[in-house]
Amino acid sequence: MRHLSLVRANVAALLGLALVACGEPNWRGIGIEPARDIPAFRFVRSNGDTLSTAPQDGRPSLVFFGYTHCPDVCPVTLADWTRAKAALGDKANRVRWLFVSVDPARDTPMVAEAYAKQFDPAFLGLSGDSATTAGIQQAFTVASYETPGATAVDYLVTHASQSFLVDDTGQLRAMYSFNSGVDAMVSDLQRLLR
């Protein structure tokens, strides 16, 4: 009889372990576990104001690293964002859509802002000084480097191509690979916007 109780206890323990193991959130994008703490960064905008990426209650962020001279990945990604924003409807107003330039030498704050706004007025184009750019890239553990072009100012920049989802507590939760569609992004944002 005691033997039977012990077996039952073991089975219960195993079921408990299984439940714990299955308890992690299922993101539609590429989930990141444990979520990574992203520190706040401050960017000076073209009008002289400062924008902080510090978390805001109820407002998740979608973050992408690119540059305005990008011939392919950046325009496609920001076009995907416009589709995602449209799919979210009114809820999209609570999302912070952050396009962060990895080419501050050519992308002044004004240039980055104008570029992002071409796709949607709600998209925030940000360009910081080299220390801020390096710091935020380090926080997301992404890199970028220049590839020489025909002239000194005609270079390309190789950069990360994924979009990152940061929740309203500043935790990096998931990411979306380039050109993977917007369904996963929309689904995960809807979950955070409930």
Binding site: L14, E24, R28, E33, R36, V142, A143
Partner: protein, 117 residues
């Protein structure tokens, strides 16, 4: 005698439970470890270790996870994934596809591709 039998039964149950936990405990589909020096290795079951290939094929059963443990002193990027110094992080791959990117923890220092089937 019955005491010995009971002890044997308890031992058998304990061993059975330990084996069941060991076998059923969720493991990542790919376990990549980056030791100091920065050359990544793949750790497989039964303590097998292989060098990092240029392409890693992952079966898409369930939601496969890629675990990266970085004990090197600098951040590393492995294709789409990355790990800060001292960080162990798991990426859950939701759907089949090909994920390619630059690799800083590979002997050739070029690219790394994950193919999820």
């Amino acid at each position: 005698m019955s005491g010995v039998t009971r002890a044997a039964q308890l031992t058998a149950v304990a061993i059975g439970t330990a084996v069941a936990v060991m076998v059923s405990w969720p493991r990542p589909a790919v376990d990549i470890r980056i030791p100091p020096g920065g050359l990544a290795q793949i750790h497989k079951s039964f303590w097998r270790v292989t060098a990092l290939p240029e392409t890693i094929v992952v079966a898409s059963g369930g939601r496969p996870r890629v675990r990266i443990s970085n004990t090197d002193s600098i951040a590393h990027r492995l294709g789409l994934f990355s790990a800060a110094p001292g960080e162990t992080v798991e990426y859950t791959l939701p759907q089949p596809g090909t994920y390619t990117g630059a690799c800083s923890a590979h002997p050739t220092r070029e690219t790394l591709t994950f193919v999820v089937r």
